[in-house]
Amino acid sequence: MALLDVRGLTKKFLGLTAVDNVDITIETGELVSLIGPNGSGKTTLFNCVTGFLEADAGHVHYRDRDITKRAPYEIALLGLSRTFQQARIYRRLSVVENLLMGIQQHQGESILERVLLTRKVRRLEQEATERAEELMDFVGLTHLRDQPAGNLSYGQYKLLIFATALMPDPDLLLLDEPAAAINPTMINRMKEHMVDLNRAGKTIFFIEHNMEVVMDICERIIVLDAGRKIAEGPPDSIRNNERCMEAYFGR
């Protein structure tokens, strides 16, 4: 059974169809990207899947569970982590605090336990801190540990967002333009991180404009245009698909 199964998803805004009857299936362990021109409905699709928008029609299943009408926090707690295109981050908090924010109730302790700081919570807290240190090390931000996130460069910013999304140890990672607006060296690092994670068993589904990234690392690419899925397949088949190239780059 697929990890993520989107069936007939449709979302309209004021009469404009942003996502039009889209079917997507992601299997465990895949590294899939979603591409398409601006305004083709990629982010809207992500928002519908993660519960930030309510779809007008269609269903989203995650691990056989219907999550179509679930609240965003419930979906997050099921092990589905996402990032935002606008590079959302707690700018006033430090790097390590940002990472710790990534784990909210993923370990299922109650408010009371959290207030009382029971032994269980202290152990979880210790684990979270260790994990934060590990991830800082992974993306190479350890030297900026106590810096406010607002002081980071844009590339470091993106790495921090990426690492924060990994904090709850999600099964499925939805990334909205992880490599956008960062310099080529950073792009290469991001690519490596994504491939490493994927090899380690994480399923990644991401939106990206940078074709190089997409073509290099993906096994499968899904193309949206004007809200519809117009193609799907390995990089080569997309590169040779006349319709895709036209939609994306014009004639």
């Binding site: 004021l14 404009l16 601006n38 002081n151 607006a181 780059f249 004639r251």
Partner: protein, 239 residues
Amino acid sequence: MADEARILEINDLFSGYGEIEVLKGVSLEIENGEIASIIGANGAGKSTLLKTVFGLVKASHGSVVFDGQDIANKRPTDILRLGLSYVPQGRCNFPAMSVNDNLEMGAYIRTDKEVKADIESMFERFPILEARKEVMAGNMSGGEQQILEMAMALLLHPKLIMIDEPSLGLAPQLVELVFKAIQRINADGTTTVMVEQNAKKALSVSDHGIVLVLGQIGFEGTGEEIANNEEVRRHYLGG
């Protein structure tokens, strides 16, 4: 007096948002009467460049000379009066006002009596708007709204018009319509600078192509040169 041939000269321009610097020393010249296209990856600073020129984003360093006057960090109102109009990315009209009222708002800074006649001439120029005169702008299609926004900008008879992503989110036929309109505007004597994701299409109608890479000019040439440049093709035109 400035060089007649150059309408816009940007010299070593730096700008950004708060602590994030987006433009890192952009120098650029736009010739009078040309169509120039700025292309580049998301976040390369294309929109920021236009916003900085128009005074919506503060320039931290560098100069912007328009028609012989330094306009860096001037207010949009003053820049408009000098004859530089700007059509931002996304929908930039008044959705709950009629097309006619929107056009009047486009001419907001004008105080002369010719506004009414000019609006009529816009209707002649873009018949698609005349049919929609009393329709709320928000109820029109994306392409129609884009044309309305360009018409609003043109009411000030600008010497230079800057358009950010005219084809954003438009269906192919509408993209065609909008690019035709841009070519008409240029043919009527308005220098045009546009930022486009649809790079191939944009370059095909441009005299001048500029590729922005991470806040700096990466490549520059005629539209054709840019479209045929191996490296540009590979990175931004998809081979």
